[in-house]
Structure formats: C-alpha cells, structure tokens
Amino acid sequence: MGRQIIHRLVISFPALVGVLFLCFVMMQVAPADPAQIIAGPDAKQETIDAIRLELGLDRPIIVQFIEYIGRVVQGDLGRSIISNKAVSEELAQTIGPTLELMVGGLAMAIPLGIMLGTFAAVKRGTLIDRAIMAISVAGVSMPIFFIGLLLIQYVGFKWDLLPFTGRNGPFWAGGFTSMILPCLTLGSVLIGPIARLTRTAVLEVLGADFVRTARAKGLRERTVIIGHALRNALIPVVTLIGLQAAYLLGGAVVTETMFSWPGVGRLAVGAIISSDFPTAQGAIMILALAFLLINLLVDVFYVYLDPRMQRG
C-alpha cells in the first residue's frame, strides 16, 4: 500500500510542477507589470527599474521560476493590492470555510446519492426507478446557480427557514444553520451522477455469483443488498467522486459567490473583478493544488477499498 501511494505521488509530481508553472506564466503574461504596481502610478522609471532589479524580474525566466517555487514553498505569495495583507494570510483565512463547504456538500451528496441509486437498482424497472433516474438526469442538467437561487428565494427568503448569506462561524460554534443551504446547493450537483452510477454498479453486482450464494445461504435481503452488493458497488462510486472533484471545486466557487461564503473561490472572483492580481493568482493556485490533493486522496482510498489494486 505504501508503495502504491509513493507511486501516485511520483505521478502527481509533473502535474504539480505544471500547476506552479502555469500560475507563474499567468504572472508573466499579465498586462500589469508587478514593479509598476508596487511603485505606484506616478513612479519614475528609475524607481521602477530599481524595484525590477530587487524583485529579480530582469533575470532569466527559468531562474525566476525556481525562485518563485522557493517563495511558494515558504508561503510567500506576495501582497494583496487591495487590502495590502499577505496573500498567504488571506488564503489561510479562507481555505477553512471552503473545505468546510466541500466536505459538507459531499456529506450531503454521497449518502443521498448512494441511497437513491441503490433504491432505484432494487426497484429496477418500476416507476420509482424511473422517477429517481429522471431526477438525476435533471440534476445533472441544472446550472448550480439555479438551485442556489431557488433555495435562497424559497427556503431562505419566502419561508424564512434558514440563513442564506455569509457564514456564522465554524459549524460547531453556531454556524451549522448557515452551512445548510450552501452545502445543499453544492451537494446537489453530485447527487445525480452518484445515484446513476450506484444504480449501474449495484445492478451489475446483483447478478454476480457471490450475491446468489449469499441469497442461497438464506441471508436476509437487506443484508445481501447492503453487506454484499452495495459494498462492492462502492468502488466505482469512489472513482466517480474523484472525477467529479472538478465540478465540486467549480461548484464551490459559484456557491461561495452566491451565498457570500468567505472562501477561496469568492476571494478569487473578487480579486479578479478588482484586478488584485497577486491574490487572484494565489487563490487559483491553492484551488488547483486542492484539486490535485483530492484526486490523490481518492486514488489512495481506492487502493484501500479494492485490495486487488495492491497486487496490480
């Protein structure tokens, strides 16, 4: 298992360097000259040149890139042009809420999706099956902001059931209610695909010999479904969650913006709109790294779930 994880880490390395390189290139091709920004609009050319020298902007690109990696490793991502705070400080404040939102979204989507999918598989061909599948196709086709808008408009505003703007602290300290609508919005993107795949996987496993054996042994139907069929059907579902990580991340950006959730996605969008380049770059980098990490975790979990992978 350890070897598998190391292997995955080695494979992720080019992607990691690629992400850093693209973020670095972003800075290079940006219309704004960092030296000019730091010096201010009325600075003399000599001042700008001095700052360029100080920042090492006159050195070869590859040297600058290596230095950039050095700074990133040390957590130095520059300063926000708008708030003048260190970008790393801003990211440290926002990464927690983003993770909370994503974990909350998954915590809603995974059980619900698996439950619906299993139910549809067990009731295959019935009206319930068709209804669940129709809902899941509709869910896949729904823009995430539409779901958010509906929840805000009805649950938040009209029926006044739950708060729909901002985050009232961490979920263990009174912030739980403010989490529900954003997490529901984000989770809704994943329920459809998870339900669909669970259904297919469970149906496939239900036809397998070991399920027939379990039934022949006289096990209760519930034990057969949950203990035998579902457990084996979970493997493709875990892979799917890895594949859906991109939607989870993209969805988090939209959800945070809609619900004024103080996360990295909202920080990135705000920074881009206000041309705060260092902050935008740092936020995009953190989100890309988070995405790599999610995929890595999914791969590791996959090996754990499916012991056959260890031998392969």
């Binding site: 494979i11 080019p14 992607a15 990691l16 690629g18 992400v19 693209l22 973020c23 972003m26 091709v29 940006a30 219309p31 196709v137 509709a138 896949v140 086709s141 729904m142 823009p143 995430i144 902001f145 539409f146 808008l149 509906l150 805000i152 408009q153 505003f157 990580a245 991109a246 939607y247 991340l249 993209g250 950006v253 939209v254 913006t257 809609m258 990135a268 969008v269 920074a271 881009i272 709109i273 380049f277 935008a280 770059q281 995009i284 989100l287 890309a288 995405f291 790599l292």
Partner: protein, 295 residues
C-alpha cells in the same frame, strides 16, 4: 496514390456506413424522449439563429418607465431591471450561450482529437502529450476561466478560451483510447506495408475510424460545456453588460431576486432546458452510434 488506398482494406467504410444519416436520425427519433429533446433543441436553435426576426423587441432597448414588469401582457416574460424585454434578451442570450458551447466543443474537440490521435500514432510523443493532458486535467474548467479572466480581463473571449482548454484533455484521452484500438487493426499494418504516407494513415485510416467515438463524446460533453460557460458568465467572468448572455442575465437578476424573481429564474430555466435536451439527445446519439461508451 489512389490505387494504394483502394488496395488497402477500406478502413473508413465501417464508420461511414454506420453513420449514414437517414438511418441514424430515424433511430434517434424512434426514442420518444430523444425525439422531444431534438424538437425542442431545434426550435431553440432556429429561434436563436433568426433572433433578429423572432425577438418581439430590441433586446437592448431600455425603458425605465416599465422596469421589473411581471410576465404577461405586452411582455410575455416580463421586463428586467432596466425595463428591457426578457423574452427578446432570452432569444439573443441563447444565441451567445449556444455559440460559447459550440465553439468550445468544436475547437476543443479538434485540438484534443488531434493530440490524442498523434499520441496513439507516434509512440515517442505519447508520454509527452499525456503528461501535458495530466497537467491540463489538474485545472478544472472554472479555474481556467478564472485564470484567463485574470490575465486577459473578463469577457466572452476569456470564457471561450477556458471552454476550449477545458475540453482538450478529456477529448485527447478519449481519442487516444479509440485510436489505440484502431492502431491494432490489421488494415493499419497493411497500410504501412503498402507504404502509405503517415498523413494518409493518420487521416484516412485512423481519424475517420475514431470520429464517431469522438463525436459521441462531444455531444455528451456539450451540455456540461454550456453549464461551465454559463457558470463563468454568472461569476462575471464572461459576457459584459449590456450583452445578453443567459448566465450573465441570471447574475443580473440575482440582485432583484426578492422583488422580481422572474428576471433570474427565466434565463436559469432556459439554460436548464437547453442542457437537459442536449444531454438526453447526447445519450440517444451514444446509444445509436457507440453503445460501448454506455459503460
């Protein structure tokens, strides 16, 4: 040259006979749901194409005396916060949204398909191309959109670039997978033995046999691409006011959600219907053209 091609087993024939238009269309339309989806999409596309003639009002004409009018009466879908006719903006906006999706799918499909096929054909290139694909896959589409908007400024171009770049790696993988399968066929070996040029091998032998798989994959992706594009527009990274684009219209309506919910709901609903129809139709096309992909 032509004799060599004729002498080689007619590789592309399998694909072209399967894709002969009337039978494919008839098979898709036999599915009632897919038929309905195809009809709705056709109406939407025609309305968007002929927006100038179909739209009842000028989509940019502001009327501050009639803002946020509810649906019904003179304005079938009401008016927005500037008194502009929502139906007209919806028709023009659909044109922009569809255009984003189409350009993303076509250019992303061409570039990704080329990369995938080259990776399968030239073994030494394979590792390099797939590493590039891995790096591209490390950037979810929304992040690419944010990055491009940060560099080049928000606008339709930023979204277009993001959609194309986001489509490339997935298509490259699918195309490579399909092409590797074709590479193992005997007619490829026969072509090589007959001295057919690399270009002809790639184009006539390989690409034509992968096209249906790539096409099916792209039809399945189209809905997702539209969703990503409209999400970027919703975030303010795409079309800028006053341009009508569905995602941006929804974002503008969000500010008036409690006073006039229809301003945001109507364009959101339109995106939903378009994507739903595209997904249903994509599924049907897949079932007809490439049932193996169902896995």
């Amino acid at each position: 040259m032509s004799t060599t091609i004729n002498a080689a087993p007619a590789a592309p024939a399998t694909a072209s006979s399967e894709m002969s238009r009337p039978s494919v269309l008839r098979r898709i339309m036999r599915d009632r749901v897919a038929g309905a989806a195809a009809t709705i999409l056709t109406v939407v596309v025609v309305a968007a194409l002929f927006a100038e003639w179909v739209a009842p009002y000028d989509p940019y004409a502001i009327n501050l005396l009639n803002v946020m009018a509810p649906p019904g009466g003179d304005h079938l879908l009401g008016t927005d916060s500037n008194g502009r006719d929502i139906l007209s903006r919806l028709i023009y906006g659909t044109r922009n949204t569809l255009m984003l999706g189409l350009v993303g799918v076509i250019f992303g499909g061409l570039l990704g398909g080329l990369l995938g096929i080259l990776a399968a054909f030239y073994k030494p290139l394979d590792g390099w191309i797939m590493r590039l694909v891995d790096v591209l896959l490390a950037f979810p589409a929304i992040l690419i959109g944010l990055a491009v908007a940060a560099i080049a400024g928000a606008g339709m171009t930023a979204v277009l670039i993001a959609l194309v770049v986001a489509t490339i790696p997935d298509v490259a993988r699918v195309a490579r997978g399909a092409a590797i399968g074709v590479m193992e066929q005997e007619f490829m070996e026969a072509g090589r033995a007959l001295g057919v040029s690399d270009f002809t091998l790639i184009w006539r032998y390989l690409t034509l046999n992968c096209i249906s798989t790539i096409f099916v994959f792209l039809t399945l992706r189209f809905g997702q691409i539209i969703l990503i594009g409209s999400a970027l527009s919703f975030l303010g990274m795409g079309a800028q006011p006053p341009t009508a684009e569905l995602g941006m219209m929804a974002a503008q309506g969000r500010d008036f959600l409690f006073m006039a919910p229809h301003i945001a709901t109507v364009p959101s609903l339109a995106i939903f219907v378009i994507v739903l129809c595209a997904n249903l139709l994509g599924d049907a096309i897949r079932d007809v053209l490439d049932p193996r992909l169902q896995q």
